[in-house]
């Protein structure tokens, strides 16, 4: 028998307790015998590249300092990932939902699409990154891009959680 699967794609800048709760509610709604939530934790390369650019190009600090900052932040991203994955596991344990975890490094859109193409997901849950509203209007949103591309490729149904409360 095939499990019913939910993909919960999160990253350091795209995570909220509300999203985790939503994933649990979605698992209850589907309420088949076995529901599995696949947590895809993406360590977003672009986030770190943006910061690296600011430190180097705006702060005029050299390659060594910039590399130290990136390495420090990379380690903290990993620690945050572990803490958050534990939160998801704890929430799932109370709901009798199976959780599997995959940690990848890359771009958010590409990583979600790649994962979505590897298994059949009933629902793909994502949230938005914390960005000023104007910037989102002017330059678009990665979350919307994921939703569009998943729909175009027929890879499942995407729910974008609009509550960004961390």
């Amino acid at each position: 028998m095939n499990d019913t699967r939910i993909l919960l794609a999160v990253s350091t800048s795209r995570y909220s307790q509300h999203l985790v709760d939503l994933a649990m509610r979605e698992a209850q709604r589907l309420s088949t015998e076995t529901v599995c939530i696949d947590v895809l934790y993406i360590l977003e390369e672009e986030d770190l590249q943006h910061i690296s650019k600011r430190v180097g190009d705006q702060g005029f600090l050299g390659v060594s300092t910039t590399a130290d900052v990136m390495s420090t932040l990379g380690a903290e991203h990993h620690r945050m990932a572990m803490l958050r994955i534990e939160e998801v596991k704890a929430a799932a344990a109370t709901q009798n939902v199976t959780v599997s975890v995959k940690e990848v490094t890359g771009r958010f859109v590409d990583s979600v699409l790649q994962q979505a193409s590897e298994a059949h997901y009933e629902t793909i849950l994502i949230t938005r990154a914390d960005r000023p509203f104007v910037s989102r209007i002017l330059f678009g949103s990665e979350a919307d891009r994921v939703a569009r591309m998943v729909k175009r490729e027929g890879l499942g149904h995407v729910i974008i959680d609009e509550d960004e409360t961390a």
Partner: protein
């Protein structure tokens, strides 16, 4: 290439071409029109950064003679001025402080002394970050303090929902932002501002009135102090203590301090050379130029092997010299061609709002812009326009030389404003709404600045009106 970047990349030259080939407006010289064309490109590229800030500067520098805005010899001569070399000296000081571990030692020892309870450890991070900026450029202080703060977070096992984690991170960022106004060593933007002010006086055949190291710091440090005190109050209010046990953090700090061992000869030499450099900049800076003194002591640091050239290359992004050299040349072209005077005469409302409101408007506009654009770029863009405006409203232009860099150091909210805020947002512990109380610090700091201008500066011999 991202669409956003491509649009900005094309919009700059298109706008410059539009300004270049339009009919020359009455009252504007051809050189002035071409200078404005260069400014148009720089505005778009500095604001939207499709390329690095230094690249925009060198593009501007190349376009000045190519478009006939300024002779090549003059443009390139401006590139080698005192301010550029002083800024290089500022970054070399930061490099040697980081490389020798002296700055880490100072911050860890201070933190260990201050970390008695939750409030004190947070205030310790805030005030240590702020104080270090007196000697080390603020971005380098942020880079130095980030691993220390994250180590404390790990020792205390503070997760993404912890108020204390948020307070510690914002203490570091806001401490360095406030500290960037402490002295001319705290940020490079103040030196840029003073140089643009100096070139404005020279271009208008006005007698030179240089602002020295001590004079600048006496004007800016009180505002910086007010900002950091306001930040402490705001942080305490926005992130109340959670009653966590600080022992693991204390143990970690003790371990780190003990592992450093006794202070080395190299660290002591560094301390002595930097202290001598500051003293000489204060005493001889006006006579020989701050750049000259900075160069001399940089050479001493290298000669004593306190800093090696390969270390300097690793710790300093030499784009800083290109950015500042280009910005100074563009600013000078705008003044000497009469472009800014024409722009102000054409675009500025005729009513005179008076010196106080002009200062307030300058401070507010600069602080607002700095939330979105690099503070060096803000100074490079605003100073050439603000200086002639000051003249028109009977405000001594030297006050703009203070007001602009001080208020460009009052961006406490968005990650786009300074590398320090970008770093702490990059940890994933903070959302923009957590830094929104920073608006209060900006507002109260601007008020503190205006109060200092009216009540404190006259006592220091700096009257506000010309």
């Amino acid at each position: 290439m991202h669409t956003r970047r491509l649009i900005a990349l094309l919009a700059g030259p298109l706008l410059a071409a539009l300004v270049t080939f339009m009919d020359t407006p009455a009252g504007l010289t051809l050189a002035g029109q071409r200078s404005l064309a260069v400014l148009a490109l720089c505005v778009v590229w500095w604001v939207f950064t499709p390329v690095g800030l230094p690249v925009t500067s060198i593009m501007g520098l190349a376009l000045l003679p190519l478009l006939g805005a300024m002779p090549a010899a003059e443009a390139f001569a401006l590139f080698g001025n005192q301010a550029v070399f002083f800024v290089i000296g500022v970054f070399l000081v930061a490099a040697v402080m980081l490389e020798t571990g002296l700055s880490s030692r100072i911050s860890l020892i201070c933190l260990r002394r201050l970390a008695k309870d939750e409030n004190r450890i947070c205030n310790g991070v805030l005030f240590v970050s702020w104080g270090l900026c007196a000697v080390v450029v603020s971005h380098a202080v942020a880079a130095l303090m980030l691993p220390i703060v994250l180590e404390l977070l790990r020792a205390l096992n503070l997760g993404p929902r912890s108020n204390t984690a948020k307070r510690l991170l914002l203490s570091m960022a806001w401490g360095t932002v406030a500290g960037s106004n402490l002295s001319l060593l705290s940020s490079a933007r103040a030196t840029l501002s003073l140089e643009l002010y100096g070139s404005y006086l020279a271009d208008h055949s006005l007698p030179p009135a240089p602002i020295g190291f001590l004079e600048y710091s006496m004007g800016s440090a009180p505002v910086s102090l007010a900002s950091v005190v306001i930040a402490a109050v705001v942080l305490r209010w926005a992130f109340p203590p959670e009653g966590i046990d600080l022992k693991p953090a204390m143990d970690r700090l003790n371990e780190r301090v003990q592992s450093m061992g006794a202070i080395s000869t190299r660290e002591l030499t560094t301390l002595a050379v930097i202290a001598a450099m500051i003293l000489c900049v204060i005493v001889y800076g006006r006579e020989y130029g701050m750049g000259t003194v900075a160069l001399l002591f940089s050479a001493i640091l290298f000669s004593l092997q306190t800093l090696k050239w390969e270390d300097a290359e690793r710790y300093v992004n030499w784009g800083v010299a290109l950015m500042y050299g280009g910005a100074i040349a563009i600013g000078s072209a705008l003044h000497s061609s009469g472009a800014t005077s024409w722009l102000i005469a054409t675009a500025m409302p005729t009513g005179n709002i008076g010196p106080t409101w002009t200062l307030a408007a300058t401070a507010t506009l600069t602080a607002g812009m700095t939330e979105l654009v690099s503070n060096s770029a803000v100074i490079a863009l605003l100073m050439p326009v603000m200086l002639p405006i000051a003249d028109q409203v009977a405000l001594d232009p030297r006050f703009v030389a203070w007001a602009a860099p001080i208020s460009a150091g009052l961006a406490f909210v968005l990650p786009t404003s300074t590398p320090a805020l970008a770093m702490v947002f990059g940890t994933g512990h903070l959302r923009i709404r957590h830094a929104l109380p920073g608006i209060l610090i900006t507002i109260f700091s601007i008020i503190a600045f205006l109060l200092a201008v009216h009540f404190l500066w006259p006592m220091l011999g700096l009257p506000v009106t010309s």
